[in-house]
């Protein structure tokens, strides 16, 4: 393993400090405890949106802090959920009379740590659990994982909160986006966690791991390598079975790279996935292609389909100004 690192112990600190400097126009870094917060004051009564999770998925979540999206993000160690003091401090710093909405990817560690923070918080608050990964059935013992669809939840709630929606409305909206969003991932390689220095799993030159999450955990099955079209049809088929979009349904198609897959391949995946749904009469009216919810240096990608009605489309299109997503301003 070769990585740009001084020492495992301060990797996260040095990186966050660089992130904060590079985006000092929109965010600032709080230390002790760590969270990334917006620079600019929000409108009184605005719901404060707090997310967070293990690091190694950048730009998620810190890259989505800013006007029109999150108020703060709490970065944990690599692939390790942040701790309750971070969420609590972030919530207290950003609360502005509208209460706090936590947006949490559904992993045991994240859920429990956010839960502890929520229990300690003495202002109105609620939690949206992102659980868009359809590699497992809804009935899975821990529920579905939150993966690349999380940013769609964050963007849409972010727009609503910015325009004055209250806590209950934001919570309901988040749950609605969640239900309308499904993702499936495939890994071509494992990632390498810096502290460990070797790939999390072994995988052969002719194998792929289907239905992976975003922490280098193995997926739901291992298959032999196959053509891009076959891979896309497999992933999209599972998503389509889950969401069962109607003919004429509008949707956002998000192709997310896990870190080491060239944009050229992601655009190829976009092409094939959009063909898949065009054939089924789905109207792919919005796109997002790139590395947004990464898994360190993993080669692979996920496909996310998010069904949009007029309200969701309007909220998706609303101005956003963060390090990683920016439009309309």
């Amino acid at each position: 393993m070769k990585k740009f690192i001084n020492s495992i112990d301060n990797l996260l600190d040095e990186s966050l400090s660089g992130f904060a400097k590079a985006h000092a126009d929109i965010i600032q870094l709080n230390t002790q405890p760590h969270f990334v917060r917006r620079n600019k004051p929000t409108a009184p009564g605005k719901v404060a949106l707090i997310s967070g999770g293990g690091s190694g998925h950048e730009p998620l979540h810190s890259g989505f802090v800013g006007s029109g999206m999150l108020d703060a993000a709490c970065p944990g160690q690599v692939f390790t959920s942040p701790t309750p003091d971070q969420m609590l401090a972030a919530a207290q710093a950003m609360e502005n009379g509208g209460g706090v909405l936590f947006i949490v990817k559904n992993y045991a560690g994240d859920v429990m740590n956010f839960e502890i923070a929520a229990e300690m918080l003495d202002c109105p608050h609620d939690t949206v659990l992102a659980c868009d990964d359809v590699a497992f059935p809804k009935t899975h013992s821990t529920g579905r994982r939150g993966v690349a669809g999380t940013l769609i939840v964050e963007k849409i709630i972010g727009a609503a909160a910015e325009s004055g929606a209250d806590l209950a409305a934001c919570k309901a909206l988040g749950d609605r986006v969640n239900i309308a969003t499904a993702s499936m991932g495939v890994a071509l390689t494992s990632c390498t966690v810096p502290a460990l220095g070797k790939p999390t799993f072994d995988i052969g030159e002719n194998e792929i791991e289907m239905g992976v999450g975003i922490h280098g955990e193995r997926g739901r099955e291992r298959l032999t390598m196959r053509s891009a079209t076959e891979i896309v049809d497999y992933l999209s088929g599972i998503i389509d079975d889950d969401l069962k979009p109607q003919k004429g349904q509008s949707a956002l198609l998000h192709i997310n790279g896990f870190g080491a897959t060239p944009l050229m391949e992601l655009h190829l995946i976009y092409e094939l996935a959009s063909r898949f749904w065009e054939k089924r009469g789905v109207n792919i009216c919005r796109s997002l292609v790139g590395n947004y919810t990464t898994s360190l240096d993993m080669a692979g990608c996920s496909i996310t389909l998010s069904l949009l009605d007029e309200e969701l489309l309007r909220l998706w299109d609303a101005p956003v100004h963060t390090a990683a997503l920016r439009w309309g301003c």
Binding site: T80, P84, M112, I116, T142, V193
Partner: protein
């Protein structure tokens, strides 16, 4: 009670040592069916405890467990951080105003384990640290009920912890990250169960030595 928080520095030290000694093996377990960070997570917490161990030694158990809980909660992260944090904070709560003997400790520990169960929405048989913690709590309660001698009770705890840890090998994981491996989760010991067992056995060891040491 023979055991006072003055013991904490040496307890923390042996915990540090056993995790360090077994780091590679445990990481391999967490890489096999988890995400590989469990040892690093725990070690962050242990390091923080070491820094506080002088102070911890001066506290009573209620305050010490509270502090240990908060430290684990804020230094570790991940599933295990929230769970160990919960364990110790709950133990601290349960210990308030109670003189410590085996019976009381068994109850306190059981309260802690119950809090972990609640926090994790998990129970025995799901291939987690609870497969060590739950039987260990039961063994403590049994020892107290049977009024067994402390050295025997400690010995039982260690045996129970090992058996609990071993039992996770063939289980299907239904909680934590390993649950996503479904059938592929079988055949691997749960990392969190392994470290719980290692830490419990290390503690038992020190405590047993302490019992037989000349006062």
């Amino acid at each position: 009670m023979q055991f006072a928080p003055a013991l904490l520095p040496s307890l923390i030290q042996v915990i540090d040592k056993t995790i360090e000694t077994n780091a590679e093996e445990v990481t391999a377990l967490d890489q096999a069916i988890g995400d590989g960070d469990h040892v690093t997570n725990l070690q962050r917490g242990i390091k923080a405890l070491i820094a506080q161990s002088g102070e911890l030694a001066t506290l009573d158990w209620v305050a010490a467990w509270q502090k240990i809980g908060m430290t684990m909660m804020t230094a570790v992260g991940g599933a295990s951080g929230s769970l160990y944090g919960t364990l110790f904070v709950a133990m601290s709560k349960a210990a308030r105003e109670r003189p410590l003997d085996l019976q009381v400790f068994a109850e306190i520990f059981t309260s802690g384990v119950d809090a972990v169960k609640q926090r994790g929405k998990a129970d025995a048989g799901e291939k987690t640290m609870l497969d060590v913690l739950i039987p260990v709590a039961a063994s403590l309660r049994q020892a107290a009920a049977d009024s067994v001698a402390l050295p025997v009770a400690l010995d039982n705890v260690a045996r129970t912890a090992i058996a609990g840890m071993e039992s996770t090998r063939d289980m299907l994981a239904t909680k934590g990250r390993a649950s996503f491996l479904e059938e592929r989760s079988r055949g691997h010991i749960d990392a969190g169960a392994k470290t719980s067992q290692l830490m419990i056995c290390a503690l038992v060891d020190v405590l047993a030595k302490h019992l037989t040491a000349p006062a």
